[in-house]
């Protein structure tokens, strides 16, 4: 079930109502059933894959705790669990890619092979497998008690607001809250509704409108001039941000309606002054996952420069390949890693380059924000391109066709929506929409609601692009 569908608009109030009507001891069951319905709305049979990982990780958690005094056994259970979860990921997400490349490799060696597979990727697989793994690792490290209740553990993996596109939760946050008795509070309903409304605005009004231009230009590169392609690069930066941020905000709001606080995934990433800062503000739940479970175990930053650079590259390449099984994603991760290292090298070589002194710190900071945004925008092209050939075409058209081709015409309404979003992103750089509304006068607050409701209903794109991160 997608959030911007009539099914979800009916589903969510029913679930919230049932949640508060039922006694605490039955709520997990209702939420689990609701989560199953939510997931099975896509392709019902894929729930079996989810079930397999749930059973393995649930059992691994209990066994690791039982053999807490026998490190070798404990480690074995952890490895079995991680390997089996990664195998599921490998088969359903990467096997097509691997076999396709093996076929090509064999063909280049003059051998004809037909290894290629056509497995359909279950929706949200990368997200819930990472969430499962975080549980197993936390139990192994002794930071989390193994969950004995199979229902609660299943719900931790399947909690519908964040099941298919995150945020990737940790057991210390979500599992704990699932056990807590939640009382009905008006402020939760109010905050949840605000977040959902804002999320719909960001996704349906901003992201989807921009998506129409991006699809048109990237799909017909030969018809447009360089200015159009360059503008589309910027539009795509906002499309992907608004798409994912919108989804995460609706997820946050849906959980908040029932009193659950799930992790914030974004903090105005395009206001970052460096790539390193960007990754502290973009897809936070994934960045922190890689930080805690890959980067720090590799030694983090408390190592020599060469080793640190290696650690960074491992994390970014893994992050790239996590997003999708294609060379373009790998390149995207690689480019971010390189830039991250380059920034550090520059900071070392020119220690004062990052600090803005004098009378115009605002201008200096703004320039650094623009620089970071442009670099990120350039890299998003790798993320959006379907393959290397498409990537090459985009760059070639973007920088060599200033005189030929058509100029993309953008409706004033699109600029207005984008402008409104950028303004909101600046206003919300240190807060969240629900909290920001809190201290506004009642009349102003309701005027904001009215504008947002009107825009979501009357000004949303009717193209209904699927959430970009669904494919991961």
């Amino acid at each position: 079930m997608v959030f911007n569908s009539i099914a979800f608009v009916v589903f969510l109030p029913i679930v919230v109502l049932l949640f508060y009507l039922l006694p605490h001891k039955w709520r997990w069951l209702m939420l689990l059933a609701a989560s199953c319905v939510f997931y099975m709305w896509f392709v019902p049979k894929y729930i079996l894959i989810l079930l397999v990982t749930i059973v393995i990780d649930y059992a691994a958690g209990i066994l690791m705790e039982r053999y807490a005094d026998e490190p070798r056994k404990k480690k074995t259970f952890m490895i079995i669990s991680i390997v089996s979860t990664l195998t599921v990921l490998l088969v359903f997400k990467y096997l097509n890619f691997i076999t396709e490349n093996l076929d090509q490799l064999c063909a280049s060696l003059g051998m004809e092979t037909h290894l290629v597979t056509h497995i359909i990727l279950p929706i949200g697989l990368s997200f819930h497998t990472f969430q499962s793994m975080s549980y197993v690792i936390e139990v192994y490290r002794g930071h989390q008690k193994a969950e004995r209740h199979f229902g609660y553990y299943s719900l931790y993996v399947m909690f519908f607001p964040q099941l298919v596109t995150g945020p990737i939760e940790r057991p210390g946050n979500l599992l704990r809250q699932l056990h807590e008795k939640k009382e009905f509070r008006y402020e939760n309903i109010s905050k949840g509704m605000r977040l959902i409304l804002f999320g719909f605005f960001v996704k349906m009004v901003v992201a989807d409108h921009l998506g129409e231009y991006v699809d048109e230009v990237y799909g017909h590169l030969d018809e447009y001039n360089s200015w159009s392609v360059l503008l589309c690069m910027v539009f795509y930066s906002f499309q992907i941000y608004c798409d994912f941020f919108g989804y995460s905000t609706i997820a946050l709001g849906s959980a908040k309606l029932m009193g659950f606080d799930i992790t914030d995934n974004f903090r105005s990433p395009y206001l970052s002054k460096s790539i390193a800062e960007f990754w502290h503000r973009w897809h936070i739940s994934l960045s922190t996952w890689f930080r805690d479970y890959v980067y720090i175990p590799l030694g983090g930053s408390r190592v020599k420069f060469g080793r640190w650079a290696f650690n960074i590259m491992v994390v970014f390449v893994l992050s790239g390949i996590w997003h999708g099984a294609a060379w373009t994603f790998l390149l995207w991760g690689f480019a971010h890693g390189l830039l991250h290292i380059a920034e550090k090298v520059l900071r070392r070589a020119l220690p004062n380059s990052g600090r803005v002194k004098g009378a115009y710190p605002l201008v200096g900071n703004a320039l650094r924000v623009v620089k970071t945004f442009l670099l990120v925008t350039l890299f998003w092209v790798m993320f959006r391109a379907t393959d290397f050939e498409h990537l090459r075409s985009i760059f070639v058209t973007a920088f060599t066709n200033f005189d030929g081709g058509e100029q993309m015409s953008v409706k004033p309404g699109t600029w207005l929506c984008l402008g409104l979003f950028i303004l909101s992103d600046i206003l919300l750089r240190n807060t969240r929409f629900d909290a920001w509304c809190e201290d506004k006068p009642l009349v102003m607050r309701w005027m904001i609601y009215a504008v947002l409701v009107f825009m979501v209903i009357a000004c949303s794109s009717v193209c209904n692009f699927p959430f970009i991160y669904f494919q991961f």
Binding site: N4, S5, I6, V9, Y186, I189, S190, M204, W446, Y449, A450, V453, F454, V456, I457, A458, S460, V462, N464
Partner: protein, 361 residues
């Protein structure tokens, strides 16, 4: 809880206000953008039409080599030069689309008679669950009976069947596999899918016993297009029922124009079993709608011969000029009862019809 109820009241008041704003300044533009078919209904009203012809591709197709591109509706209009006749034709549309268009004709319009195209194939799973349905149904959302802001909300949140081509195809296949054919005598195959598969496997053979692959494929296509049984549960029957009810409410004469099918080809390629189903479905429609007050059926089912069908390698209701004229002539005969004094001396037109040589492939 009291606070919550107050807020719910405020939300309702806000929605009423927003609905007013939307209806006044935005709705019409949205209709033109997202439901442009409604402009056809508006045109009918603007032109003060008394008869409206609701058609699909049968009213919009001409042979590549034909100089005369006049439609069935144009030829019919020639019989009533003093009566304004409007044409609401949209490719791939069907009774459900037409129902929404009719609903949007204001009560104070000058419309007196509705001619609704009745296409036998449109009752089959292949058309009901065609992959064009997503786009067609999306166009209808803004035309629902709810307040305009609610309609826009339904459009934004995809309150129409959003399916991929594969999903639609799967639905069609499900019906071909499961819907009974309902022969009253023993028939070898249980459903359309089996029948089609066997035809594809056995093949179509000419008089000398040689398999003809092209005709085999066409025979399969005929089985898939006409090998079904219309029942009261058929979604298209419900759409036609709704049109009957609407026309009754509005006091309009309703004429169902049952389109000609290529029975010659069906008989040649598949034979008596398919002919039996086609005939039975035709009789079902004649019995269901032929005796209702205010409803007339023009039965063109076997009026047009094979040579007059444009598409010889596909099942369509696209006719060459002579076929279109024949149907128009047949339809005009029926419409004459409503406009006896406006009926133009048909001799010249009949002469013209006779002058046109039947198209030979």
């Amino acid at each position: 809880m009291k606070k919550l109820l107050i807020r719910i009241g405020m939300v309702l008041a806000m929605l009423l206000l927003l609905n007013w704003v939307y209806s006044k300044w935005f709705f019409e533009k949205d209709l033109r953008t997202h439901s442009d078919i409604v402009e056809l209904s508006w045109q009918v009203v603007d032109d003060s039409c008394r008869i409206i012809y609701l058609g699909e591709s049968s009213n919009n197709h001409f042979g590549d080599d034909e100089p005369n591109h006049r439609k069935i509706s144009n030829f019919t209009a020639d019989y009533f030069p003093t009566v304004k006749m409007g044409d609401l034709t949209k490719e791939a549309s069907h009774a459900q689309t037409h129902y929404y268009l009719l609903k949007h004709i204001p009560k104070e319009s000058t419309v007196e008679t509705v001619v609704e195209t009745m296409n036998l194939r449109s009752f089959g799973a292949g058309w009901i669950y065609s992959d064009l349905e997503t786009a067609l149904r999306k166009q209808l959302v803004l035309l629902e009976d709810y307040p305009s802001l609610m309609n826009r909300f339904l459009l934004a949140f995809e309150a129409y069947p959003v399916k991929t081509k594969d999903e639609w195809n799967a639905l069609v296949m499900e019906h071909w596999r499961n819907d009974p054919l309902g022969f009253p005598y023993d028939f070898e195959w249980d459903n359309t899918h089996q029948w089609d598969s066997v035809m594809a496997w056995r093949g179509w053979h000419d008089a000398e016993g040689r398999r003809d692959q092209q005709k085999t494929e066409l025979a399969c296509h005929y089985i898939k297009s006409y090998g079904f049984q219309i029942t009261d549960e058929n979604p298209r029957v419900k759409d036609f029922d709704a049109i009957v009810e609407l026309c009754h409410e509005r006091g309009w004469n309703l004429v169902f124009n049952l389109m000609a099918e290529n029975v010659d080809k069906a008989n040649e390629l598949v034979g008596k079993d398919l002919m039996f189903l086609m005939q039975r479905n035709r009789e079902y429609l004649l019995n269901r709608y032929g005796h209702l007050p205010g409803v007339t059926i023009v039965d063109n089912f076997d009026l047009v011969r094979d040579a007059e069908f444009i598409d010889q390698n596909w099942t369509t209701e696209h006719y060459y000029e002579y076929g279109r004229r024949l149907i128009a002539d047949h339809l005009a005969e029926t419409l004459k009862q409503f406009y006896p004094t406006d009926y133009h001396n048909p001799d010249s037109l009949r002469f013209a019809v006779r002058q046109v040589e039947p198209h030979l492939p």
